[in-house]
Amino acid sequence: MLDRTARRKITNVVMLGLTTLATLSSISVLFFVLGYLLFKGGSSVNWAFFTELPKPVGEAGGGMANAIVGSAKLLLIAAVTGLPLGFMAGLYVAEFASQKMGAAVRYAADLLNGVPSIVVGIFVYTLIVLRAKHFSTMAGGLALGLMMVPIMTRSTEEFLRAVPRSLRDASLALGATRWMTIARVVVPAATRGILTAAMLGLARVAGETAPLLFTALSNRFWSPGLNQPTASLPVMIFTYAISPYEDWQQQAWAAGLVLLAFVLLANVLARLLLGPRMHLAG
């Protein structure tokens, strides 16, 4: 019978080994998916893809320039509407709310999270598209923004709460008001986690197709402004991937690759712009 110390040491090694295995499996799945995407779509990513409008099947070339711009616009609207709403709601729950109100808002966020993306799209369709009698980029962006709210709310609340009391107390002791403490001390300390949540939320909605089908529809042409239907990468992927034409199917894979590349870019850009705030909590 091993003595307790030896058992504990073995447990340590085994369990930490298992976590390594878990990481390796997750990463390898990622690499497989990425590799598959590259394999299927890599050859179709060319200059024309980024600069030309979609061409009908049978004609060589053609690209998804309007879909790329469309996706960018949609994500921008989503970020501008969903992130602040989620962030402020999370802030409210973490800093100001009473027990009951806090629980209610948190619950609402969780419920919203479980709603299928197509139902969110139908919801925005009933509220906006039906009233305006036309599809629009704005409606699509709002639908996506709504889907980002739960992850922002939950994460903001978590990371604000995780900021140690010592930091808050120190700030208050120096004479700062409550809101100054929150704005200048607590939030910056939680920036890292909140930023991750924002990126995760953005990444998720970047690939969503269903909510856009009934709000932004799609467009074979350019879509100026915010009031017209717009093409977007996920919808183009969806339309092309299930079409009978191999040319279009390849473009669908290429679009998937490009979408990923842009999400990566946005991620890196955001971290650079908003500044690294490493390990402030510890």
Partner: protein, 350 residues
């Protein structure tokens, strides 16, 4: 201090945001007409609208495939300028419309029985009743006498038939079930015809792609896909016995024949099913697909554009369809349609 730095970065970022938001080619003199509906004709419609745009650069017709049901709903709601559907609108749906909706057939399509059977590369022969029984789950094995009788000389395995159907609502399913309802009373009473039905047996694949994908995976399986899909992806498919008793393989000619056969009794509003149509060389599982246009378009300019497009579609447009594996409309139907276009009240249309 640090907060200030960040707000400067943020300012730069925000200006970039606004620049992107307003990006887009200014469409000063352009008119955009929006339509939505059936998925089946999406490739040919996108080709047509692209060509039409080249001829008339100030006109942009934007069509999106959200499904026939979606097309019908959107035209009823008035959120699009025109709709498109693989199945004609029912009387109840037409009654819901605030303004009368006209149907205009554009191209023809067909649905073919496809299968994945080891060792069988030739085209199997099917009859309507046999297909109905397979999809009802009453014929369960490939070497069933009913199938063997139609295909003497083919070595059919004794495996169970794995039935594959569409999981998503689709015009393809509508045409397939419409045909089965006509040739099998059991099917008609038990299942019926619709874009989505309660399948007695089988797995559901999403889209033609899903069905074809499942067919490839499952040995000894049978399913149905659009003709275009089978042709473009080189999937083997069987022949079906038509109303005249001949086993016809679906191709562009036999499909146009099915429409020609029905042209004689074409109703004035073009809402007709041409499955199981008479005609010696007609392929029995064929169908029109329609554009849904309001009799009195809300925007007169857009109405005029639609009229112009329809005329072009019926003449030059029809020449482009075969290259994409669609069957063109027979001459009789084209003539009837040109006359029907005058019903659209669009002052200023040429």
């Amino acid at each position: 201090m640090v907060v200030l730095e960040h707000s400067m970065n943020l300012n730069r970022f925000c200006s970039l945001l606004i620049a992107i938001l307003l990006l887009g080619i200014p469409a000063a003199a352009q008119t955009t007409v929006t339509g939505a509906g059936a998925t089946f004709p999406y490739p040919i419609y996108s080709k047509w609208f692209d060509e039409y745009h080249k001829l008339h650069p100030e006109i942009q017709i934007n069509y999106q495939s959200i499904g026939s049901g979606g097309g019908i709903r959107q035209i009823l709601e008035g959120t699009v300028d025109f709709g498109a559907s693989d199945g004609p609108m029912t009387n109840e749906q037409l009654a819901q419309a605030k303004t009368k909706i006209l149907h205009f057939p554009t191209v023809l399509g067909a649905v073919v029985p496809t299968y994945s059977l080891a060792g069988v590369t030739q085209a199997l022969k099917f009859t309507g009743p046999v297909l109905a029984q397979i999809f009802l789950g009453m014929i369960t094995k490939w070497n069933d006498p009913a199938i063997a009788k139609l295909n003497p000389g083919v070595k059919l395995p004794g495996d169970d038939i794995v039935v594959i159907h569409r999981s998503d609502g689709s015009g393809t399913t509508y045409v397939w079930t419409d045909y089965l309802s006509k040739v099998s009373d059991a099917w008609k009473s038990k299942v019926g015809r619709n874009t989505s039905v309660n399948w007695p047996v089988g797995l559901g694949g999403k889209g033609n792609e899903g069905v074809a994908g499942l067919l490839k995976q499952m040995p000894s399986s049978i399913g149905y896909v659009e003709l275009i899909y089978a042709i473009q992806n080189r999937i083997p498919y069987g022949t079906v016995q038509n109303a005249a008793g001949n086993f016809v393989k679906a191709d562009l000619t036999s499909v146009t024949q099915a429409a020609a056969g029905a042209a004689k009794s074409m109703p004035v509003d073009f809402r007709v099913s041409i499955t199981n149509s008479p005609g010696a060389d007609a392929y029995p599982v064929s169908s029109f697909t329609w554009l849904l246009i309001p009799e009195k378009p809300a925007n007169p300019r857009k109405g005029a554009i639609l009229v112009g497009f329809l005329k072009w579609m019926l003449s030059d447009g029809q020449k482009m369809v075969e290259a994409l594996s669609y069957a063109p409309l027979p001459k009789e139907v084209v003539t009837q349609e040109l006359a029907a276009i005058t019903q659209i009240q669009a002052p200023g249309a040429k």
